[in-house]
């Protein structure tokens, strides 16, 4: 029809309109092309009409299932905001999960005591997935469909969290505070994922820099858990080393949930590595270090934060002559370090003591605490009409939230990573403490040689 209408708009003149007698010499009575529309106009009109014709059906296809924004999200009632979490409360990573949970709950309980957020109490439902991705999936599905939580909170572990990404994307449910620095949660950018801690890439990147620049070590091997988490770390390390035109001299691995570190250790020892970047959990890592020490292998051991500093320290209590450096994404929750974040009224130490008196403050719990702090901040900012979208927007509006201890939380529409700092600690006297001077370590290393 369109095309036809176009044609009608350009009437083609079969009669030049001049009476035969008055036609000037040479101007005969047939088509006078100057009277017609210029070619390009006709052409353009046609083209446009065709395009419109084409685009009409194409447009119909994209039906948005959930196009209409919700007025009020599920999981939010007048009284309560229901959050869900699936984390390793049991199993070989149970420390990580438990402490994360308790750290967060410390703050949340406090908030609830204070009347909640905008009159709503925050309830956190947590299921144990034992650091098992399938279980995490099942838990998450349950949380979304059955429990109809408002948002997901405090997930632990790379394989588990990464596994539920499809669910999160389909359900369009926010997930805030993951105890993992996996790159997959940061790239590609996902609006519904709110990372708080720095990424493994950042951790390993900084570590490698220190190892190479500060400690002068070039032969660096990587020991990693044979799963997404381990590979992520490995990739980060490789990327970091590449910047120095270096590559890992060796790579050893172990399977998640096992302690079969021997093979990996042998590989790394054979390479003569000066430093070993370790991406795993505390048990296998500890065993690796002990065995290496027994074998007389004395590299600098660097571990990422996820390993779990306290547990690792506990397992390496009696080891001497080992250089163990661990990167942390939060500063040490040293009770002796005066900060309201820690020891203030709403400090981590204070609240932990209150609600979970049997637990010692630790990095992991501290991180959970900070997660909760960010969460509440977001809920606050979202206001009374709380929807998932408003919540995310609220988070993104946090530009510079200072929690103390040089901890600045910053988000934006394109930045869903709250913290970017990496702290380095060294195992000394059965405790991980911040490294103040790398030169010392270097000197020590040189002395050892």
């Amino acid at each position: 029809m369109f095309l036809y209408s176009i044609k009608i708009m350009n009437p083609i003149q079969t009669n030049c309109g001049l009476p035969k007698r008055t036609a000037a010499k040479g101007n005969t009575c047939f088509r006078d092309r100057s009277r017609q529309l210029p070619l390009w106009i006709k052409f353009g009109a046609y083209f446009v009409s065709v395009l419109c014709f084409l685009s009409i059906p194409a447009g119909c296809n994209s039906t948005d299932e959930s196009a209409a924004p919700e007025a009020v999200s599920s999981g939010v009632t007048a009284q309560e905001i229901l959050l869900g979490s699936s984390l390793a409360l049991k199993g070989h990573a149970s420390f990580l999960g438990t402490q994360t949970f308790r750290g967060a709950m410390s703050y949340l309980n406090h908030v609830n005591e204070q009347g909640g957020v905008h009159g709503r109490a925050i309830k956190l439902v947590a299921y144990d997935d034992s650091y098992d991705p399938p279980m995490c999936m099942a838990n998450t599905q349950k949380l979304i469909i059955d429990d109809q939580v408002f948002a997901l909170f405090c997930y632990v572990g790379t394989p588990t969290t990464v596994k539920v990404l499809p669910m999160i994307e389909e359900a369009r449910i926010p997930l805030l505070g993951m105890f993992t620095g996996a790159n997959a949660l940061r790239e590609p950018f996902n609006r519904y994922l709110v990372n708080v801690r720095a990424s493994y890439y950042q951790e390993t990147g900084a570590a490698v820099r220190h190892l190479v620049d500060d400690l002068g070590l070039h032969k660096i091997a990587v020991f990693y858990q044979y799963d997404a988490y381990g590979f992520d770390g490995l990739t980060g390390t490789e990327l970091a080393l590449r910047r120095f035109n270096l590559a890992p001299v060796a790579g050893g691995s172990y399977n998640r949930g096992t302690l079969d570190v021997q093979e990996g250790l042998n590989k790394i020892m054979a390479s003569g590595a000066e430093a070993v970047v370790m991406i795993g959990t505390y048990d296998p890592c500890a065993k690796f270090i002990r065995l290496a020490h027994e074998k007389g292998f004395r590299p600098v051991f660097y571990l990422v934060s996820f390993v779990g500093a306290d547990e690792l320290a506990r397992r390496l209590e009696n080891q001497q002559g080992i250089t163990v450096i661990m990167s942390q994404v939060v500063p040490p929750p040293d009770r002796h370090d005066p900060s309201s974040l820690l020891t203030g009224e709403v400090g981590y130490v204070t609240l932990l003591q209150r609600y979970f008196p049997e637990d010692q403050p630790n990095f992991v719990g501290f991180e959970g605490f900070i997660n909760a702090r960010v969460l509440v901040e977001g809920l606050n900012r979202a206001g009374a009409s709380l929807t998932r979208e408003t919540f995310i927007n609220a988070i993104e509006s946090i530009r510079d939230l200072s929690l103390g201890l040089d901890i600045n939380i910053a988000f934006s529409a394109s930045d869903h990573q709250g913290l970017d700092r990496v702290y380095f600690t060294r195992l000394e006297n059965g405790q991980f403490s911040l490294i103040k001077d790398w030169a010392d370590i270097r000197a020590q290393l040189n002395a050892m040689r």
């Binding site: 079969t14 088509r31 052409f43 065709v50 194409a58 399938p134 099942a138 389909e170």
Partner: protein, 672 residues
């Protein structure tokens, strides 16, 4: 009604420009082809896509079925969930797979990948019948259409559950839409290209045609000075440079080659010149459009040459017509009305041009014209010339005069016509008459001695008789009555004789009337006999007449016929005398004049036994001024005049001769 619409549309189609015709036609074809291709493609594609989809879904479902059997048996639902989620959300599959769910034997959902409460209808929507290996159903899921592919999970032969893979039909639809978009886009592109091409092509074709049309218009208005294009201007020269153009009589092989082949065939075409480097006729070169332009130009040049020739020829003939020394008429082919007349015709015939045009030609030439023109008509297209001598025409005022009429067929203003030229021969006829008269006078001169002699005899007899009577009376002697009677009677008779001779003479000498009359052919012969009979006797030549009485009359003039026979017998006498001179002692000569009828003709013969006519001069004797006698005696006009007079009367003259023995002249006329 419909037919009118169709006809109207068809007419409108015919009227649109060539460029648009080409364009629309091609577009129409392309659209039709495209539509067919699209339909075919869609049909093949969609069907195949769907079956592909099914297969994929089936494959996915089977994979899941196999791998999930353990989990189902172990009731390891997390693993099951992980499995089906992996399968469902594996990179690109997430667009394809709408959902996956696994149900147990009782169709209770064990695990599913939906992120919302499981729809009850879905659960039972597609059940695999017990014996089937699969089941595929299309149904609506929310706002989408999905294919549910159900594969049973078996452990051995037992079914322990069912895997349902929901495939997003939208995926296919999108694919199809993409296909359609691509297709249409491509089509548009093709249309655009075709548009440009046809535009160019049509322009290429129509521009020269447009130009040629323009030029044709110019030509039809008579303006031949058109320039086709810049190239022609530089190549061709001024028209005057062409030799055939400058001189219209020169032939150009290019132009005249055909004409020669068709008609003349006199071999001239082979020798007609062709300029080595003809500036004006072009070889055909290039593609059809260029060839058309070239041929067109050649045609124009040919037309110019031809027109020039025509104009020159027209000028030539127009000037001939206008300045012709003789009257020229153009008359209608059928009605013989005058269509055109030249100035001389106006002058001669005394009518004005307006009076002449439209006048029937018969008015000017009443006698004989009808048969004459009919004979002309019979000649058809040939350019034969028909001559009608000594026709009697009438000027204005009914004044007669004699003309020679020539006529031939022609075309005048596209119609067949007859062109006539009439040459005034009155003067000539008068001269003829004068000549005859002169000859007659000469004859009379010749005769005068004889006539005198003839008249002398009766006079003498009368004189002597009267003297005798006077003498006798003077002497007072008596005349014997018998003698007196004799003398007196004789005197009277001699007077009569003299009178007769004088009458004959007078009639001989008379000038002929214009109009012919019925003449009994015996009469003039007898008159001649009267005049010269006795003289011939004195010459010892016997003039004998054998005239058939009532042999017949002919349309002639009496005294002219006398002239004819006088000349014939005189020639006969001369021939006899010549024979006598050459051969001494010849017997007395004899001239025999006979008249008789033969085949309806009136015939007169003059036979002598003179010297005859030798073969050499036989053909020349009728020539004027030719004579076998000495020139001072004879002007040589006698036989020529006879010939002329005989011909005037529509007769024929022939001769038989034998050298040394005699000659016979035979004249035959149509009797009336």
């Amino acid at each position: 009604m419909q037919r009118d619409v169709i006809r109207g549309a068809a007419k409108r189609f015919r009227d649109i420009s060539l460029k648009n015709k080409i364009f629309f036609s091609i577009i129409a074809v392309i659209l039709v082809i495209s539509a067919i291709i699209a339909v075919l493609a869609r049909w093949i594609l969609v069907d195949n896509l769907i079956s592909e989809l099914e297969l994929r879904g089936i494959a996915i479902a089977r994979t899941i079925a196999e791998r999930s059997s353990g989990f189902i048996l172990d009731k390891n639902y997390p693993e099951l969930l992980s499995l089906i989620f992996d399968e469902a959300k594996l990179k690109e599959r997430q667009h394809l797979v709408s959902y996956i769910f696994v149900s147990d034997r009782e169709d209770q959902v064990l695990s599913h990948t939906l992120m919302r409460p499981f729809t009850e209808s879905l659960r039972l929507a597609n059940r695999v019948p017990p014996d089937e290996a699969k089941s595929v159903r299309l149904f609506r899921l929310g706002e989408q259409m999905a294919y549910d592919i159900a594969i049973p999970v078996t452990q051995g032969i037992y079914r322990i559950g069912t895997v349902h893979v929901g495939l997003n039909k939208d995926h296919i639809d999108q694919l199809v839409a993409k296909l359609r978009t691509t297709f249409l886009g491509f089509l548009s592109l093709v249309v655009v290209i075709i548009f440009v091409i046809t535009h160019r092509l049509a322009k290429y074709i129509t521009r020269p045609i447009f130009k040629l049309t323009q030029i044709s218009e110019e030509l039809s208005k008579g303006n031949f000075d058109v320039k086709l294009d810049a190239e022609q201007v530089s190549k061709g020269g001024q028209p005057q440079e062409c030799p055939a153009f400058a001189n219209p009589d020169a032939t150009c092989r290019h132009l005249d080659g055909n004409l020669a082949a068709a008609g003349a065939g006199d071999g001239a075409a082979e020798t007609d010149p062709v300029c080595r480097d003809c500036q004006f006729y072009r070889r055909q070169r290039g593609d059809e459009v260029a060839q058309l332009a070239d041929a067109f130009y050649n045609m124009i040049w040919g037309i110019r040459l031809y027109r020039r020739r025509l104009r020159e020829s027209e000028k030539k003939y127009r000037s001939l017509f206008d300045s012709g020394p003789d009257p020229i008429f153009v008359i209608n082919h059928q009605s013989f009305d005058i269509i055109d007349a030249n100035p001389r015709a106006v002058e001669v015939y005394g009518y004005s041009r307006e009076e002449l045009i439209g006048k029937p030609f018969m008015e000017l030439a009443p006698e004989h014209t009808h048969e004459y023109f009919q004979s002309l008509q019979g000649q058809g297209e040939s350019h034969g010339l028909v001559t009608y001598p000594k026709a009697l025409h009438y000027k204005k005022g009914h004044k007669p005069f004699y003309v020679n009429l020539h006529a031939s067929n022609t075309t005048y203003k596209g119609q067949p016509a007859i062109v006539l030229a009439s040459t005034d021969i009155t003067e000539m006829i008068e001269k003829d008459a004068q000549l005859i008269q002169a000859s007659k006078m000469k004859s009379l001169g010749e005769m005068s001695a004889g006539i005198a002699h003839e008249l002398n005899q009766p006079l003498n007899a009368i004189k002597m008789g009267s003297d005798f009577l006077g003498m006798m009376v003077e002497a007072n002697r008596g005349i014997p009555p018998a003698d007196l009677q004799q003398v007196v009677a004789e005197m009277s008779a001699q007077v009569d004789r003299a009178a007769e001779i004088i009458n004959t003479l007078r009639s001989f000498g008379r000038k002929a009337e214009l109009v012919m009359e019925r003449v009994d052919i015996n009469k003039p012969i007898q008159a001649v006999f009267t005049l010269v009979g006795r003289q011939f006797e004195l010459d010892n030549i016997r003039l004998e007449l054998a005239l058939t009485p009532g042999v017949g009359a002919i349309m002639a003039h009496d005294n002219r016929l006398q002239q004819v026979f006088f000349n014939l017998v005189t020639n006969a006498r001369d021939a006899i005398n010549e024979k006598r001179e050459r051969r001494a002692g010849s017997p007395a000569g004899k001239i025999l004049v006979r008249t008789y009828q033969e085949d309806g003709q009136v015939v007169a013969e003059v036979q002598d036994d003179g010297i005859g006519i030798c073969e050499a001069v036989r053909d020349k004797i009728f020539e004027p001024f030719f004579s076998t006698k000495e020139s001072s005696i004879d002007m040589g006009l006698g036989l020529a005049i006879i010939y002329g007079i005989v011909k005037d009367y529509g007769g024929a003259i022939s001769l038989k001769t034998r050298e040394g023995e005699g000659t016979t002249f035979k004249l035959s006329f149509a009797g009336v």
